[in-house]
């Protein structure tokens, strides 16, 4: 009741006082971020929406002993992203080829829980159907925490290349062992491409997602403008040959269908 009264009071004041002031053509420059409902006019509708949320904070609900990841998107209502794939990367595990140490999917509230080690640094990467983003975070003494990831313009940690293997039959992640995965740079020598080997790793067992960080400046695998190919094999033969061209941040999000 008190809140409703306060809100009505402020609306009244703004409606009475502010429009008089804004007749001054020199002031009140349009601020797109203040245009809460994105209708190109900053008016009482924006104020009303701000008023409804006033005093709230973006808190990610946490559970005892668990780290909760919350995935959301701007400009959508509701903002929660359901069924986003989340990979937890432990930077101390497998450097420079990080294999995702845990993988999960968000529920209808955009939430997913992980049991992680206490007082440790992690990176969480979230993928929706068309976007991806990440957040670095540190768990507390109880392995507990709440992390929000905003999906917008796709981004990864600088110089990271993520590789996701999808089982073509099931549509799920490829989670059988792979014998070797290596990366070669493709150098064009018309009409063929020569391969300059850059890096190799064995990963068994494999859970479908791994990340290559930039570590070797003599043999980079993420130079902008160059082309690379990931060779994924198992003892029975070739699994996939996904190719990629890193962007200006040294990033690539590689998806291979096995």
């Amino acid at each position: 009741m008190k809140r409703a009264f306060a809100f009505m009071l402020c609306l009244f004041l703004l409606l009475v006082l502010v429009p008089r002031a804004v007749t001054n053509p020199d002031g009140f420059r349009y601020d797109p971020m203040a245009d809460v409902n994105r209708d190109k006019t900053i008016d009482v509708h924006d104020l009303s929406r701000l008023g409804k949320a006033y005093g709230s904070t973006q808190t990610v609900p946490t559970q005892r002993g668990k780290t909760t990841i919350y995935v959301y998107q701007l400009e959508t209502d509701p903002p929660e992203v359901e069924n986003a794939r989340i990979a937890i990367i432990d930077p101390d595990f497998g450097y420079p080829w990080y294999q995702a140490c845990q993988i999960g999917y968000t529920d209808s509230f955009g939430l997913v829980n992980f049991i992680l080690n206490p007082s440790k640094n992690y990176t969480a990467i979230a993928w929706s159907r068309t976007m991806y983003s990440y957040a670095n975070f540190t768990t507390d003494l109880f392995g507990q925490g709440g992390v929000a990831i905003q999906l917008g313009s796709s981004r990864l940690p600088p110089n990271w290349v993520t590789i996701t293997l999808i089982n073509k039959s099931s549509g799920g992640l490829w989670q059988e062992p792979i014998a070797i995965a290596s990366v070669g740079e493709l150098v064009y020598a018309h009409p063929v491409f020569e391969i300059m080997w850059r890096s190799a790793v064995s990963a068994s067992p494999f859970n479908g997602i791994f990340v290559i960080g930039s570590w070797d400046f003599l043999n980079p695998i993420n130079e902008h403008g160059k082309s690379y190919c990931v060779f994924v094999d198992n003892p029975h033969g070739t699994l996939a040959r996904p190719a990629y061209t890193p962007d200006e941040n040294g990033n690539a999000n590689v998806i291979a269908y096995v």
Binding site: P32, R49, G152
Partner: protein, 265 residues
Amino acid sequence: MNKIWLCLIGLILVGSSFQIAASSSNPSSYDVMADVNRDRIVDVNDLSRLGKAYGSNLVLPSEAGKAVVTVLSFGKEPPEIENARVAAVDPELLHNQWENPINVTCTNSSGIATFDLSPNKNYTAIAWSASAYSYANFTTNSLGEASVMILLAEPSMLPVHALPEGWVVVTLLNNETNSLYFEEMRCAPQEIIFNQTSRRFYSEPIVGGLAINGGVFVIPLDKSLNKPYSKMGLWIFNVYGTTRGSPTYSPDEDGCANVVVYVIP
């Protein structure tokens, strides 16, 4: 002066009222769009920023007989982007860019680029800054006029990289001057394919290719050639002639790619 005072008093009173409201608010009502400064708290700072802009409109400029494209980045102050490259593309003419080269110009200090376009037609404007690119579809009126905005960045987000679905857009630049390069030439996007027998990668041979005039052009989904140039995978963009760049590109999930070819004149 009186008006400014009135506004300030109003804002202070509103701020106080909202503080009262905050004491009984429900944290679950957080609205990320209402969090104007994106600091994860909807508070008096957001209200203050909204108050400063209250009553204002985004007014896009217009010009008689012209289509006006305004390029902005809300991640910087002022938001106007000067010297952004802007192309006005008629999607119906993508298959005949040889005779109908794409109209390209740069924005002025107000972030504005103007075009003379046909009346009552649909167009797509694409804008490039140094680090971002995006597009907007629009329709001209009976006088060939239109006013459209292209937004290349918002605060808290990386620069936008967006193109119409299925479009591979190629820009040919002079390697020395970094300006658009215009010359009649032939080009051919070729898919890079792994040969299991020889265990080598090949670029698949192509007959003909595309005749281009340089500048900016869009590789259409050429159904007649049955070459889906925008399918996911790795492609090389061959420009035939003397010393040309041959960049590779990988279309994204939507079949889009922004290819820049640095031509050595």
